[in-house]
Every structure is written in structure tokens, then in C-alpha cells.
């Protein structure tokens, strides 16, 4: 028997690949909000745009944390998730979210409550550094949460945190652009962000292609997941939403937007990119497969 003939097991008493069924759309929403919000906050902080910072901050603090709390079996004990940062990426993420919440708020207060809330000149760079580092951490730590364990081979690769980080950067850039354009801003920053968006769209396409090619040569369970993406039940989502809408349509519309200035076009670009971003996270989560429970079949497949 070869690994090609191994099917997805219908239940746990049967032999085959097993579907990852624990992390659902709420985890996908939390990862999506984390990457998007932290990316937007970071880019807005670096380009000094208060509204972008506020929106990014709210997406993380409200969106991400609400999704996580709704998912937990015992949400009233959420604080316990911070107990083991020495070994758990979830715990590290909780600490990063906490630091982000405090430092982000300190940076946002002067914009909304007036100069009286301005941080002393000696402290502001340190708070900004904490906000930048924690936002960057939130952008990629989900990848480590998923890739740490060898249980799901499709996730067990160092490429995953890179992919998650790059998509967070893309989402943040697109949303930063959208907010700036809808507010009627312009100038050199917009040109720079447009250029960055084009580079990220191209890079993410190449990275995603490389990821799948790598998985096709990885462990059998990873190969089976890659097959599900390319030919199986996830092919429509992958080719339709992730590639066509999320990357290609976003890129084409963005290039059209360089010539045609229209508010609806800006909103459409953001909607396309975010659709692709969320679809990617969802199929990553839903298509994760556990290896068949044996040593020998697994070895045969290598």
C-alpha cells in the first residue's frame, strides 16, 4: 500500500489522515485581525498617521481579543494563557498583545485627548520601540503557534511564520492606503505605500508558490494537504479567493487605480485583499491533516 491510496479517515477508529477540527473560524478571525491590525498599526506609526494607528489598534485589541475569548472553552480563565511564556508561543503572544495594548494606547492618547497627554521626550522613543516590536511580534507569532508541533506536517515548516508575516504586512499596507485615500490624503507616502503594496503582492505570490512546492516534497500528510489545495475540495477557495481575488485582482485593480482615481476602487482593492488574506488563513486551518497512526506506512511514503 502506498501513501497515495491513504484516504482521509471518516472517524478516529479508521485508518487514514485525520482532519484538524479543533481550530475553527474564530481562530482564523483572531489570526486575521491580529495580522491585519498590527500591520496597519505598524505602518501607520512609521508613517505618522493617527487614524490608521487607531483603526489598527482597535482591530487588534477589540477584534483579535474578542475572537480569542469567544473561542476559549473557559474564557474567564484567559489570564492563565500568559503563564508559560518560556515554552508556549500562545503565552508569548498574550504578553505581546498586552504590551501592544499599553504602548499603543500611550501613543494614541495625545492624538485624541490633546497635547497634555504627550509622553515626555525621553520616554516616547522607548514606548514607540515597544509598540513597534510588539506589533511586529503579533504579525508573525501566529505562524509559530501553528508550526511548533510536528503533528500537522503542512504547518510544521519555518516558512509558515514568514508567510503569515508577509500577509500581515500586505494587509496592513493595503488598509493603510485605503484609509489614507478615503481621508483624501496624498503625496509621497501614498506613492511609497502603493509601491510597497505591489512588491508585497508579487512577493506573497512567489512565497505562496514556493510554500506549496515545498509541501509537495514534504511529509505525506503535507503532500495530501497540498493536493487538497490544488485539486481537491479547497482548490476553488485557493485558486478563486486566495490567488485570483486576493493577489491577482488586488494587483490589477491597484494598477488601474494608478490611472483612475475613484473611492469605490480603493474600497474594492481593500475588500479583495482582505478576502484573499482571510481565505488563506481559513484553508490553512481547515486543511491541516494529521498523519496516519503508524510508523511503517509513514516511512514507506517518504
Amino acid at each position: 500500500m502506498t501513501t497515495q491510496s491513504i484516504a482521509i479517515a471518516p472517524h478516529r477508529f479508521a485508518f487514514g489522515y485525520y482532519r484538524q477540527a479543533w481550530w475553527n473560524w474564530l481562530i482564523g478571525a483572531a489570526f486575521f485581525c491580529g495580522g491585519l491590525g498590527a500591520g496597519l498599526f505598524l505602518i501607520s506609526l512609521l508613517t505618522r498617521h493617527a487614524l490608521g494607528m487607531l483603526v489598527g489598534y482597535l482591530i487588534v485589541v477589540v477584534g483579535k481579543n474578542t475572537a480569542h475569548l469567544l473561542y476559549l472553552g473557559r474564557p474567564e480563565r484567559f489570564w492563565r494563557a500568559a503563564m508559560r511564556p518560556d515554552r508556549s508561543w500562545i503565552a508569548r503572544g498574550i504578553w505581546a498583545s498586552g504590551l501592544f495594548g499599553v504602548s499603543g494606547l500611550l501613543l494614541l492618547l495625545p492624538y485624541w485627548l490633546g497635547p497634555a497627554w504627550q509622553l515626555p521626550p525621553g520616554i516616547e522613543p522607548a514606548v514607540s520601540a515597544v509598540a513597534i516590536v510588539s506589533a511586529l511580534f503579533i504579525m508573525f507569532y501566529d505562524g509559530f503557534v501553528m508550526n511548533t508541533s510536528p503533528a500537522i506536517p503542512f504547518w510544521h515548516t519555518k516558512l509558515l511564520p514568514v508567510l503569515v508575516l508577509m500577509y500581515a504586512a500586505l494587509g496592513g499596507t493595503t488598509l493603510a492606503l485605503t484609509i489614507r485615500e478615503l481621508r483624501g490624503g496624498g503625496g509621497a507616502v501614498l506613492d511609497y505605500l502603493h509601491h510597497e503594496e505591489h512588491i508585497l503582492l508579487t512577493t506573497n505570490f512567489l512565497l505562496l508558490s514556493f510554500y506549496l512546492l515545498r509541501m509537495l516534497r514534504w511529509a505525506p500528510a503535507a503532500r495530501e494537504t497540498a493536493r487538497l489545495w490544488l485539486k481537491g475540495p479547497y482548490a476553488r477557495v485557493f485558486f478563486g479567493l486566495v490567488l485570483l481575488v486576493g493577489l491577482l485582482a488586488t494587483l490589477l485593480l491597484s494598477l488601474v487605480h494608478d490611472r483612475v482615481q475613484a473611492t469605490w476602487l480603493v474600497a474594492l482593492i481593500a475588500a479583495c485583499e482582505m478576502t484573499g488574506d482571510f481565505a488563506l488563513l481559513m484553508i490553512l486551518l481547515k486543511s491541516g491533516l494529521f498523519a496516519p497512526q503508524t510508523a511503517k506506512a509513514y516511512v514507506q511514503g517518504r
Binding site: G73, R74, A81, M83, T148, P150, A295
Partner: protein, 204 residues
Amino acid sequence: MARLGMVIDLKRCIGCNACTLACKQETGTPEGMHYARVITREVGMYPAVKRTFLPVLCNHCDDAPCAQVCPSGATWIRADGLVMVDREKCIGCRACAVACPYMNRHFIERGLLQHGYSSDGLSPYEAIKFADFEEGTMSKCTLCAHRVDQGLEPACVVTCPTEARIFGDLEPENGKLQLLIRERGGWTLLPECNTKPSVYYLDE
């Protein structure tokens, strides 16, 4: 220090699922939850087809990924190697379930403890046994730690009619488990995951 473990002789296993039932009776797990189960597989082409059985349970790994990823410290490893869950600390994030390559972590969904196997409420047996569980938390095989602490063997071991399961200490080089593993080429599930399981299989 002891390292408790098990050797399962696949030559002896007849796939009767007595271990599955004994485990359910001992631990009183709610509907749909099985700490011990037997994976059945049909191998070959007609007319040369055979059915193989693989009894599985928590491997009580020495390098348990479920314990490593647990953010709250709810999953911990006893001095004798048994991997345990402190339900008071568990937040129900299910990271351990995703991290376990052997799929031996179980989440107790909301409402699962409100009904038993019969349609109307809980039986007296279920009412007592379900007190050991808490909704919204993880649960797992403890290798019958409550029995082991009294000097007894796990329920699946004493029930097995073909004595396919051998329970003991993996630590002594010349202990019965190590001798069996050495003499008969014992192997573990998914060795490439480097989890160092404490459950070995014999098929030679």
C-alpha cells in the same frame, strides 16, 4: 525514577475493543470520547485481504508536544512520566489537541455533560463519573493514574483477553518491557515527530 509505559503486542491483538470499553467504564468518558480506541485497517487486494488492528491511547511522551504548547501550564508531566491535565488551570484553547500527533486529547464541549448515552438526562453512574470532567476544558488518558497509584494496572491492561498489553516501568534496562522491546524490535508511532512515546508496539 520510574518511567511508566506500555508494550502492545499486535500479534496478540484481535481487535475486540475490550480495551475501548474497559476504558470507558473505568473513566466514564462522555459520549464520543475515547481515551483508548482500536484503529482498524484493511490491507491488501481481494482475495488476499486482511484486517489489522492498532490499539492506541495517549503515548505519555517523554517530550510531549501537548505539554510544551500549553500556555497555562495545565498539562504537566508527573515524575513517573504520566502526562496529566489540571482541569482547574485549563483554559480550553485546544493547542494541545492540535499539537498531539496521536490525536489523544479530548475537548469537552459545552453541554456534553448535560446528557448521557441514554436520551433522558444522566444515569446514576454517569452522574458520578461526569463529576471528574469539566465543560470547556481538555481531558485525556492518564494511564489510569488513580489505579496505578494504588498498585493496580490500567483498566485496558487488565481487561485485554489476549494479554496483548504489558504495563510496567520502561526505565530498567533489564526490565520486562525493555527486554520485549529489544528482543522483538519494538517501535513507536510516528517516530519522526521525536516525541519519545512511552507506548511501544511489537509486530515481529
